[in-house]
Symmetry: C2
Subunit: 198 residues, 2 copies
Amino acid sequence: MNEQPKGEGQPRRRVRADAQRSIDTLLAAAAEVFASSGVDAPVREITARAGVGAGTLYRHFPQRADLIAAVFRREVDACADAAASLAAEHEPVDALAGWLRRFTGFIATKRGLSAALHSGDPAYDSLPAYFDERFVPVLGGLLDTAARTGRIRADIDPKDLLRAVANVTLPAQDDDGHTERVLALLVDGLRYGASRAS
Amino acid sequence: MNEQPKGEGQPRRRVRADAQRSIDTLLAAAAEVFASSGVDAPVREITARAGVGAGTLYRHFPQRADLIAAVFRREVDACADAAASLAAEHEPVDALAGWLRRFTGFIATKRGLSAALHSGDPAYDSLPAYFDERFVPVLGGLLDTAARTGRIRADIDPKDLLRAVANVTLPAQDDDGHTERVLALLVDGLRYGASRAS
DNA sequence: TGCGAAGCGGAACGGTGTTCCGTAACATCT
DNA sequence: AGATGTTACGGAACACCGTTCCGCTTCGCA
């Protein structure tokens, strides 16, 4: 549950108790603030909610981006882990569609983050990699299992589908079922040509 | 070619000559700066290039967002107008695919703008409407014509497809053909079920 | 319990978007 | 053309934000 940012080689120094407390408080406060005010919320709003000074934040997260990244990773993990139970409880194609929907929900809370990702800030460099690292195997597994039923084509790169769904979902502002319909269109695209190729 | 921002009811007052000069210079400078440094470029960079003071900019574009919106509209028009010649020179389905590709190129230059659009700034409120107002009829026409050949399904809402393509294209950072492939997937989705319905 | 190191708060810094206002340029009427 | 009221101009000043700095406190170990 705890977290030590910037874990270079090994964490050679023990984390002092008050420092760990600050880190936890900051991550919790940041998650709340990001959820309610978006990732562009002023840093002072986070430090105020956490009841710490600005210096404390920057000691543990040298760049504002590092804090965002830390919060992000936690939520990526939660979404990726959801795939296992879906696969256990549903038919392959349903599990695939279901997880895509779950993934859609995850992405929907990330408004404003895509902008940050493409800002060129090197602090975000590791995020897309982590995103792929966790999600590509998950979606790849669902896709393979579904393809083996023959009801879905087998020539889809998980990474492509992942990005497509994410990109379609992220900017959906006044979503009156738009995301649902496009997701359905993509799944139809998957079904098209299910008969050819292996 | 000229432009008078904020045209409320009627433009009841003539625009003074020096003011029109400032507006034109600012729009030109802004277009260049946005293209080279993105929409997040400092205002002072634009005023410097235009050779005007900050007060002049804010007199004509009360919010930074108003300037962005004005530049944006010009380029929307250019892209929408491209559809006519495509429709005249290609088969319906090719014209459709061709314009989607052209549209893709337009969107690709708008990185960072999507972030602005979803920032909640009321100054951008009219942009999506203008975007739809210009593009939906254009894509709708291409879609109808293509559907009448029977090689494309007829139950697609132009607005859905428009947003889907835009959303897929906008965040494409390291595009190694990703956009192309997803676009193809969407067009396959259009072909799927072309036989059923009218 | 004493002491060096790590952590803490918050004032201060540099840079940004935006406002303000004295001055200059324009359009109109005589 | 000259006078005059209105509109626009430039750039210094303001408010806010991310980030840095540093004197003081707290922690962990012997």
